[in-house]
Symmetry: C2
């Protein structure tokens, strides 16, 4: 009766299973998978205790999951315990895998992650994609995907889904890039330009980055605002462990929150948007530098050397972030703000002014600011793991496809 509000996968994955006997069985299969994934290896009895089902009921579910190659038995538990030793269950290291891909402004990347969460293959191509037509870019991405899938197949993995992170707004069909200004892509359905199999999900890179933070971060709370940057500023809102998507899928656009209503004009049509103060180009300009390869690395290196202009530029970006985040914290009341992507690498020089600004404007309602450990790896990992979560959330659906 209560559908999920913000699916990790807008296009039908992660849906609420129907409220029937059959739906209940599928949910219980998912509960077994999630329990073993979070706490395994575990015996059947331990799983039964954790999810409050009888040992017999769990055994039936487990046998099915083993037949589908989603769980495996590790052999008898360590001896010395009282009673008949049970066989420990673990998530399978072969069978379905999640394929994550990323179209960055300056690179393409693909990886595969097995159900245990282990990265099993990777492929990267550096070089700018700015202003290139989508066809050759996505042909190159397809070649990288095929390479990663082939590597997996040699190890007994098959692709359960493909999730692609893009630096732009994605429609709720989870296929169409509505606007990716830094690539100059508009209203582009990626479906026909990527492999027909496995099933495709396209999403904004900040969304996948925030999911990676949620699933893989250290003590990430279930309510947080994720802020990241590559060329532009991305944001994502996670509420009670789910991504807030918005009516059109555009939620989290922190980069165009007004910081100063009479500030510089922005390409979006507004004035004084956060990107005009804290986007990569604005920071480079304020620091007196010109954009080049690995601009973020350059900024970090120069700031670490104490170059005054660079430190001042990053301090100004931190202040602007603090003002924009004040509005966001007032609206959303998150438990934390998490800085990811390039912002994680620049955090030492952004945080002092950012935290000062946020604290003085949100007295009594302030929230913690944390720095992502995943940094610019977040979107790619989040994409691959989103496929893995789909399998854990409804293992029967994957079994039906084999």
């Amino acid at each position: 009766m209560t559908p999920p509000l913000h699916d990790a996968h807008p296009a039908g994955h992660g849906r609420r299973l129907p409220d029937t006997q059959q739906g209940m069985r599928r949910r219980n299969l998912a509960r077994v998978m999630h329990t073993v994934s979070a706490e395994g290896p575990l015996s059947r009895a331990a799983v039964a205790a954790r999810i409050d089902l009888t040992r017999a009921a769990v055994s039936t579910l487990v046998d099915e999951l083993i037949r589908w190659e989603l769980l495996e038995e590790l052999g008898p538990e360590r001896p010395g315990r009282v009673g008949r030793p049970g066989s420990a269950l673990a998530i399978s290291g072969h069978g379905p895998a999640g394929i994550g891909a990323e179209v960055g402004v300056d690179h393409l990347a693909v990886c595969s992650v097995d159900l245990r969460g282990v990265v099993r293959a990777r492929a990267v191509r550096h070089g700018t994609n700015r202003g290139r037509p989508p066809q050759p870019v996505l042909a190159e991405l397809t070649a990288l995907i095929r390479q990663v899938v082939a590597e997996g197949e040699r190890e007994g993995l098959w692709p359960a889904g493909l999730a692609v992170a893009v630096p732009g707004l994605v429609a709720r069909d989870a296929r169409t890039v509505v606007r990716a200004p830094n690539l100059d892509w508009h209203d582009l359905d990626l479906g026909p330009l990527l492999p027909g199999e496995p099933p495709l999900t396209v999403d904004n890179e900040a969304n996948f980055g925030s999911l990676a933070e949620l699933w893989l971060g250290d003590d990430t709370p279930r309510d947080f605002l994720h802020v990241s940057a590559e060329i532009g500023i991305g944001g994502a809102v996670v509420v009670d462990g789910r991504l807030l998507r918005g009516t059109r899928g555009f939620a989290g656009e922190l980069g165009h929150v007004p910081v100063d209503p009479e500030g510089p004009r922005c390409a979006c049509g507004g004035r004084g948007c956060l990107e005009q103060y804290a986007g990569e180009e604005a920071v480079l300009r304020a620091a007196g530098l010109t954009p080049g390869e690995d601009s973020v690395g350059q900024l970090a290196e120069r700031a670490a050397r104490g170059e005054t202009d660079v430190c001042r530029a990053l301090g100004g970006a931190g202040t602007a972030l603090g003002i924009a985040l004040t509005g966001a914290v007032n609206l959303l009341d998150p438990e934390a703000v998490v800085l990811g992507g390039a912002l994680a690498a620049l955090a030492p020089w952004l945080l002092p002014s950012l935290e000062r600004e946020l604290a003085r404007r949100t007295a009594g309602t302030a929230c913690a600011v944390a720095v992502s450990r995943l940094g610019s790896e977040g979107p790619l990992l989040g994409a691959a793991h989103s496929v893995v979560r789909t399998v854990l959330d409804d293992p029967a659906a994957v079994a039906e496809r084999t």
Copy 2:
């Protein structure tokens, strides 16, 4: 497996029922109630068709709901149809009722609403509560509540719950007013100061106003941002038909979103908050007027007469609202912004500048701005209806209490 994200009632009402046979029966009782509430009067067969259960299963549920006095039979359906006439079912006009109460800065109000949504009794007391200690204010509110409950009892109604709207931040315990600056109340548990029965829920007035909009408004979308004003500016975020509460229950604080980072100091500790431009006191000051009784009525009257200072002050408030809403629309991507409370009455003079500002800053991602039909009635009605929804959402829980 999927708990609801943002309950209408944070303190345990509207909870997800357990995934068991018993939970399924309770959910089906709720589905029958909601179906008859939305589309009744309906025959048993019509209910069965709509919720995809057998006629026999529905009859068992309906018999129970009739025994609990939550449904009633209207007698045979209109003749002339083929087959044996069924008896039409309707929501009962007696039995449990929702009691809504409002602590305004300038008034107290209480009403009762039956399960059909009909307002059955009302009581209001005008006069300022600003700076008064909470005890006498809540003693007066208690007297009004007792009066409304007694009126209902004479008509066969009993109070299923009491929901109190307050102009301030409420903790997630749904009892404690953390901060109501315009009343000067702080960290105040309302529980001991109100009648011990029926069960109590306290919430921010803008939250109840937004729920009223959702449940009673004309074509209100399921994703919207509700903005209201009395003395301060209130806001509430509704995502997929549910209120976004935030970690501490403070979400929706649009009044303290920065509009101009170097603007006037605000009592919150910030600078240039929206309330400094669009709050009642700021608008009166900009119009050259002093606060008094029914300031909003005064503003509307003078604006309607075309008084230049008043029109200019309201136009400025609209511009500030447009800037603050730009940030909110970018973050949340709602389907609409709904202006409620005093803003609804002033909409003719706020909307032109508000919409202009929002449109030029959110080119391509703009969202519609609508004006609430409920206006300042919203919070009180939302409070009473929130109790009614609790009954519809889990009728068995109410039956257990009788």
